[in-house]
């Protein structure tokens, strides 16, 4: 009760074989904040997301969601507690239609569990919610198209749609705009902003334009540790971050030209 954090990592560690990938990461995120996670390739950002969302169990350390320990729980258990994530590599249900994809994302949170005694068509709340989502991610026109026949950008949008479908309060997005053009990215960021109003958001991004445009705070992960966690301006000014991640002019150019 007293814990104010929506998500908190305490000295999280994870080793694969002998290599330690996450080396004592700590982070505390307030409810309603938008956090961008940045860091060099292979720093462990995705791994961090995997640990939080239950894909892997941490070697040691704690993860707390709204004050409850969730480390070591299964993904579906964590999801039921109100945390949802998207994937860096598109991960949807290829042989189901757009609408069905979204409805799958909705069912558990509305309490339908494993029931086989009700018809889907009669679940008005689930259907309405799925329709609304579809509208939000602008895929209404593709309602009955199989997900595998969507274009890349549409699939990415669907990916986000499924992620937010369950109404989770904490949302993790792993490189949501990867592979999109500038304009699409911009549209997408708006979309993300729109659908995550009032929620806690963590997103991994390499595009500095996006990062600075979206985030309230930035967490910098290097070699499995959070080396900086601050406002965008402060992080950009941070010498260590410059060295480890941003490099020289490219970052500047990107940050400046992000808006184009």
């Amino acid at each position: 009760m007293s814990n104010p954090y929506a998500l908190e990592l305490k000295d999280l560690r994870k080793s694969f074989g002998k290599t330690e990938i996450i080396r004592g990461a700590s982070l505390a995120v307030n409810a309603g904040e938008r956090i961008a996670v940045i860091g060099p390739n292979g720093a462990g950002k995705s791994t961090l997301f995997n640990l939080i969302s239950g894909r892997f169990a941490p070697t040691s350390g704690e993860v707390l969601l709204n004050g409850n320990r969730i480390d070591g729980l299964k993904p579906f258990e964590i999801n039921r507690m109100g945390l949802s994530r998207s994937f860096q590599i598109t991960n949807i249900f290829p042989k189901l239609s757009v609408f069905e994809n979204l409805r799958c994302g909705v069912l558990w949170s509305l309490g339908y569990k494993y029931t086989f005694l009700k018809f889907l068509a009669d679940l008005d709340d689930a259907n309405e919610r799925a329709e609304a989502l579809m509208h939000m991610i602008k895929l209404d026109r593709k309602r009955d198209v199989l997900a595998m026949n969507l274009t890349y950008a549409e699939q990415r949008a669907l990916e986000i749609g499924i992620t937010i479908a369950g109404g989770a309060t904490v949302i993790l997005l792993d490189e949501p705009t990867a592979g999109m053009s500038k304009s699409e990215t911009r549209r997408f960021i708006e979309l993300i902003k729109e659908v995550t109003v009032g929620k806690t958001l963590l997103t991994v991004e390499h595009d500095m334009g996006v990062v600075f445009g979206l985030a309230d705070k930035i967490a910098v992960v290097v070699y499995g540790e959070v080396i900086a966690y601050d406002t965008p301006e402060a992080v950009r000014a941070n010498q260590r971050v410059q060295e480890a991640y941003l490099g020289s002019h490219v970052a500047e150019a990107q940050a400046a030209g992000g808006g184009h």
Partner: protein
């Protein structure tokens, strides 16, 4: 070296490239720009013999159209596909091994060169490639193609998902390739890097080339940029 004329490509019944013309000279970096879906990746695949197409693809005086991809690769063309087609169950080292065209090796590049270029890969060389981070996978695909010792390398969005610092590094490396006499056909989304290293830029729109010129002329041509590159 590479000459493309009137190239038409099809996915089943859908006609994607409508008569593409361009060429790439020795030791030249040519950037192929364009919006999503304009047909750049398809052009790359067409050159590699991976889609149905008609027209002329001439590589060092040889018509390669209709050849199988592996035959084309043996002629000295290298291709780095766009969506990180690493082989997930093989280790990093094995992935690189598959880049070599013959088991004996003997190309211009050795494993060590690659590891030197991206030390990160050396650290992870015995890990399954499937668990690499997104960026590491991107590095791996690039190195894997280099291991095949190509004379012309077609790179589809190499900087996708890379940290800004690494993006810079890739840029540097492409320039080094050029110095060694290797031609590069660079398909890019990020204008900044493409403009800074390429000798020539092509802009593609709706399956044909709509602009050809130096980066500087492109920079100057606001209409082309507005019409074909941005929204």
């Amino acid at each position: 070296m590479l000459k493309i004329e009137n190239l038409h490509a099809f996915y089943g019944k859908s006609h994607v490239l409508h008569g593409v013309h361009f060429n790439v000279g020795q030791g030249e970096i040519v950037a192929l720009l364009g919006r999503n879906g304009s047909g750049r990746s398809t052009t790359a695949k067409a050159i590699m013999g991976m889609v149905d197409c008609t027209g002329v693809v001439d590589w060092k005086g040889k018509h390669t159209l209709g050849m199988k991809p592996y035959e084309i690769a043996h002629l000295g063309l290298g291709y780095v596909p766009e969506n990180r087609d690493i082989f997930p169950k093989l280790t990093v080292h094995q992935n690189l091994m598959l880049g070599q065209k013959s088991a004996k090796g003997g190309g211009r590049w050795s494993f060590d060169d690659m590891y030197e270029m991206f030390p990160r890969l050396k650290e992870r060389q015995h890990t399954e490639a499937g668990v690499l981070s997104g960026g590491e996978q991107q590095m791996l695909t690039l190195c894997r193609t280099l291991m095949g010792d190509p004379e012309l390398i077609i790179i589809d969005e190499p900087t996708e998902g890379l940290a800004p610092k690494i993006v810079e590094l890739v840029g540097e490396y492409l320039k080094k390739l050029k110095e060694k006499g290797i031609s590069v056909l660079l398909i890019e989304q990020k204008l900044t890097i493409a403009m800074s290293i390429s000798d020539r830029a092509l802009v593609m729109g709706h399956g044909s080339i709509v602009f050809e010129g130096t980066p500087d002329t492109l920079r100057a041509d606001a209409y082309i940029r507005k019409e074909w590159l941005e929204v």
